[in-house]
Amino acid sequence: MKYVLRWIYFKGILIIVLVGYTSGAFGQENNQQSTFALAAPVVYVDSLLFTKQALLSFTEGEKGSVLHYQLADDKPRTANHKKPIEIKTTSTLKVWSTHPYYQTSDTTTLKLTKANSLLSDAKISIEPEPKAAYRGNKEASLKDLIKGTTNFRTGNDWLGFQTTEVNFTINLKEPTTLYLVSLGVLRDYGSWVFLPKQITVESNKKIIGQVNIQIPKEGEKTASTFLHVPIKKGTYKELQIQINTLPTIPQWHLGQGTIPWLFIDELLIN
């Protein structure tokens, strides 16, 4: 409760009164900023993987909020939820919202990837099989050029594994010059889904590329993203991709000691 002195004239007489009032919601003054933040903006995109162009649109969000976006090296701009944005090249897009009362939202980061169709005629074998609940469209899911969202529970985008090693063997229709392999993966610690620990690419039983992924830290956000493995530039017809997960979920997590889930939705080669 707070108090202020106020005065009014009543029939020519000045009356001074002590007025008590309570503060607004959340135990704060209404004109101060809330302890709550805006939710991260919802962005609709026809596909995070595209061959010609991607069209992005935004939701309106909380009343009074302002949408902002920034493309990799460009300056921040104000977005309008009624005007979609067109993207024609591989881009990283950041979107956030501000409001005079609520805290600024978290930033939604989207990686839009212009993809090719080099794998469309390839045969991909998967060992072991994904878990029964998350088989997607098996091999087809890996080369359909549709990036799965963070909602892995619905649709046929994601293949889910709970094992320490997954192997893909790719047989291309024709020998092709390559320098990069990319793997679409999911990170969702709340659902016990972790990125792999290491990805190794071989051809003719020789390692041509390998990356180690940093150890997961508590608080890292859920994301549908890509892991890129640069490979020795050359002409290849067959590739073996070995994906090793963490042996167990880290100590800081509720599921410590058990094998994490691995979710993969897409394979790309360049």
């Binding site: 009014i8 607004g24 709550f36 909380e62 009362y101 529970r153 619905t154």
Partner: protein
Amino acid sequence: MQRRSFIKKTSVASVGLVSLPLFAQARTNENGIVGHGDFKYKVNVNWGALNSQYYPVNDCHEMVMDKKGRLYLLTNNTKNNVLVYNKDGDLLNAWGTQYPGAHGLTLHDENGTEYLYISDNNRHEVIKTTLDGKVIQVYSCPLESEKYESKSSFIPTETAIASNGDVYIADGYGAQYITHYNAKGELLNIFGGKGSQMHHFDNAHGICIDTRNGKPPTLLITARQQNKLKRFSMAGELISTIDLPGAYICRPVIHNENVYLASIWSHDGSPDTGFICVLDKNDQLVSAPGGCVPKYTDGKLGNMYQTLSIFKHPHDVCVDEDENLYVPQWNSGKTYPIKLTRV
């Protein structure tokens, strides 16, 4: 007269006695008020906070209120599966160490005596108890229905109890059947199940009995992953569906002419995106605290999404006689229930 409407009417009368400019600055503005239309609320995140060293929680799954106004919170922490609060958020009692999968909590008044029904998805059972935790009856996997091969494939999430004592159990994390027993515990019917037809379920997470508007009782059952509420006859026949796109609804809770639901996720099902739903007597979404403004176009609700980060994973809504809401949350950092005070 309910206290909320009494306060509202007496406040209007009081304001009429004084000069308006004097009190204008004491009014609450729209900032910090959540919800829409006539269903707006102030948020108190600290309402149910306790010393977690003594009264820890893991997931806070559901809450109910007894006729004395005591609020029962169900958590899957086996140090104290049930925490009993008064409406000020003071702890009155704590009990329960035998419910590792404590998930669903339903209160039923049986001839003047109230009982709790705990759906335990780890024990694969529903346990009927007194309000202080004495076990009265246990419902296990309905193997006699020949729909289940093993006890462990039965993973109940919620119950609804009819006025005649019939018990309906939703197997929301298991085979998606709704099992119907009489008051003696004898199996009468089983319906639903997994599948692609409209009478099937994908995550039959919650169930309640709808007797609003003087109509014969029907069952309202959530199909959470389908973003739908499905209305069935008490005999298990599908009557209609209510589409709530973008709302991953946990269980329906009926209070007066409204249906309240916690949506654990929103939009595309991303984590930490929950909000609350309030439906009117025609089952139209009229308020979404924490979510966007509900908009209907040609009778169809637009896709719902979170606009304010108040909730992470709200799992249930308990409504008191003043239409304040108490919201327990799943997987939200072991936090205690949030109170929304209606304004």
